[in-house]
Amino acid sequence: MTDATMVSAADTVAPPRGRPRWLSVLIHAALFIASLIMLYPLLWMLAGSVKNQNEIFGTASLIPSHFDFSSYVRGWMGAQVSFGKFFWNSFVIAVLSVIGNVISCSLAAYAFARLKFRGRNFWFALMLGTLMLPYHVTLIPQYILFLKLGWVKTFLPLIVPKFLAVDAFFIFLMVQFFRGIPRELDEAAMMDGCSAWRIYWKIMLPLSLPVLATAAIFSFLWTWDDFFGPLIYLSDINTYTVQLGLRSFVDSTGSSDWSGLFAMSSLSLVPVFLIFLFFQRLLIDGIATAGLKR
């Protein structure tokens, strides 16, 4: 399929009117088949969650012979602790991370974008430098630090860093946005004796809702899907996130309850899917204009 596209790709921006009808049909057919292939694994998982246990394997069909929702009930309790607990834990961590990131990164971004102070360019360059630093180099000393603080086995190592603006990418994103806000607005406010804090709170933040929403959505997604952090810091099953819960479901039931596993896997994707449904525009813009990873 790729080869065919490469050859015919030259008229990328040409309007479709010049295209023969058969070609349009062909392109749509190719895209339709490609869409099916892309979605098939997801649909198979969803179907598997309501299929009969021995109907999951051995057939590639997406339509269950009958719908059996008991897997959701079994799966919910499938890993010693109820998935309700896991969802709650994930939710708490994700929401606090969102709040932390939005507040701390916007504070830093406002300073970099608007305030005048000695060494601003120096610190800004350092901040950009941290964008490139893989987290592996800070991982072990951070673990030791949190261990000494007695924070291991709590949510704190997963949440507190978010309040300290460690996700430099969001700072960068917000700096870019803040620079686009007309300077006259805050200069006028400053003439009127407005403090930096009031300008930040009353002018910059209200005018920056799109970028704040983008940062919020991506930090929710990253935290919700995070597996490595919880894997390292959480060891009591009562504190597990959904991702860890799923893994321990796999370990504890082994190869016995596939439909239950698929049911919980499907449920774990629901929040992400809802974000996809309602904030697709922001997601796509975030990726296309800022290169956010997803």
Binding site: V7, A10, P16, P41, M132, L133, Q142, Q280, I284, R294
Partner: protein, 321 residues
């Protein structure tokens, strides 16, 4: 769009915030009151930067020259960790091979699909938003444990892939538990998530001015010629950005290998990603010094790769300016 990407990836070239003009201050405030607000706003970031980034990075550099198991104080061993990694560590070699193979296969394939589909979608297709959403969905969901679990079942010996192959009379192997194939399932998983580079390609394609194609058409250029002389050169900054980001990400991949192999990197180390090996050393055996050395080697590899990319960019990436 292109520019912001490049700057995101290319910290050195970013325009610094404009330097305050050297005008006489209105009230000649003292240094403290002039600088205080900036530093106050940056306070959380400063704590994070020194306490969670710069400090830990230096400490891990120090630890990489020590033997440290969390219980006794770190014991200075000089270059021993590094010497052992490069001369006497089979797992390092195999994890490096696995990771490089994964990077070299998954990144070009992923980018080829992303570009191919983006080109197909960028032809004024009806229903573009629907297709784009469908192709993007896997990369949105793909990094979660659920998908890794699903992948394990898809490629199981009696999983769907083999069922489908069976319809064609092919008896598929047990993909996951056969060391010859297990890594390929992870590559397929990576390629399946081509949606997010595709979105970046689509945005890049839209930036190419239509009149260039019109002018080329008037000159009688063929479609192939327009693609190779206009589309591809103007798209090189986006290709470059995607390649760098995807490669760095591929080096850092962890979750799918962990879930598919239950944390072992097996069978026979065939899915032992570098990060998984690092995790085992650090958090399985608590060899914190050794794991720190592994981490620094990863950083150096990524840094070398990035530096090499930017040097090579001069020769093949087309910039307007």
């Amino acid at each position: 769009m292109g520019n912001r990407h490049d700057s995101a990836a290319q910290a050195g070239r970013i325009a610094l915030p404009d330097v305050p003009a050297a005008t006489a201050p209105r009230k000649a405030p003292g240094a403290l009151s002039r600088n205080a607000p900036g530093y106050l706003f940056l306070l959380p970031w400063f704590i994070g930067f020194f306490g969670l980034t710069l400090g830990p990075a230096l400490i891990s550099l120090y630890l990489s020259f020590t033997d440290y198991n969390l219980l006794q104080a770190p014991n200075m061993v000089g270059l021993d960790n590094y010497v052992r990694i490069f001369t006497a560590d089979d797992k390092f070699i195999s994890s490096m091979k696995v990771t490089l193979f994964y990077v070299v296969c998954s990144v070009p394939l992923k980018l080829a699909f992303a570009l191919g589909v983006a080109l197909l979608l960028n032809r004024g297709i009806k229903g573009l938003p629907v297709y784009r959403a469908i192709f993007y969905l896997p990369s949105l969901l793909g990094s979660s444990v659920a998908i890794a679990v699903l992948w394990r079942q898809l490629f199981d010996s009696d999983g769907v892939v083999n069922t489908l192959l069976g319809h064609f009379g092919i008896q598929g192997p047990s993909w996951i538990s056969n060391p010859n194939y297990s890594l390929y399932t992870l590559i397929v998983l990576a390629v399946w998530q081509f949606g997010s580079p595709m979105i970046i390609f689509l945005a890049g394609l839209r930036q190419i001015p239509t009149d260039m194609y019109e002018a080329a058409s008037l000159d009688g250029a063929s479609k192939a010629r327009k693609f190779f002389k206009i589309t591809l050169p103007l798209l090189t900054p986006v290709i470059f950005f995607n390649a760098v980001v995807q490669t760095i990400d591929a080096f850092k991949a962890f979750t799918p290998a962990y879930v598919i192999s239950s944390g072992t990197g097996g069978p026979i180390d065939s899915t032992l990603f570098y990060t998984l090996y690092l995790y085992q050393e650090g958090f399985g055996y608590f060899r914190m010094g050794y794991a720190s050395a592994l981490a620094w080697i990863l950083v150096i590899i990524i840094a070398l790769f990035t530096a090499f990319s930017f040097l090579s960019a001069r020769y093949w990436v087309h910039y307007d300016d």
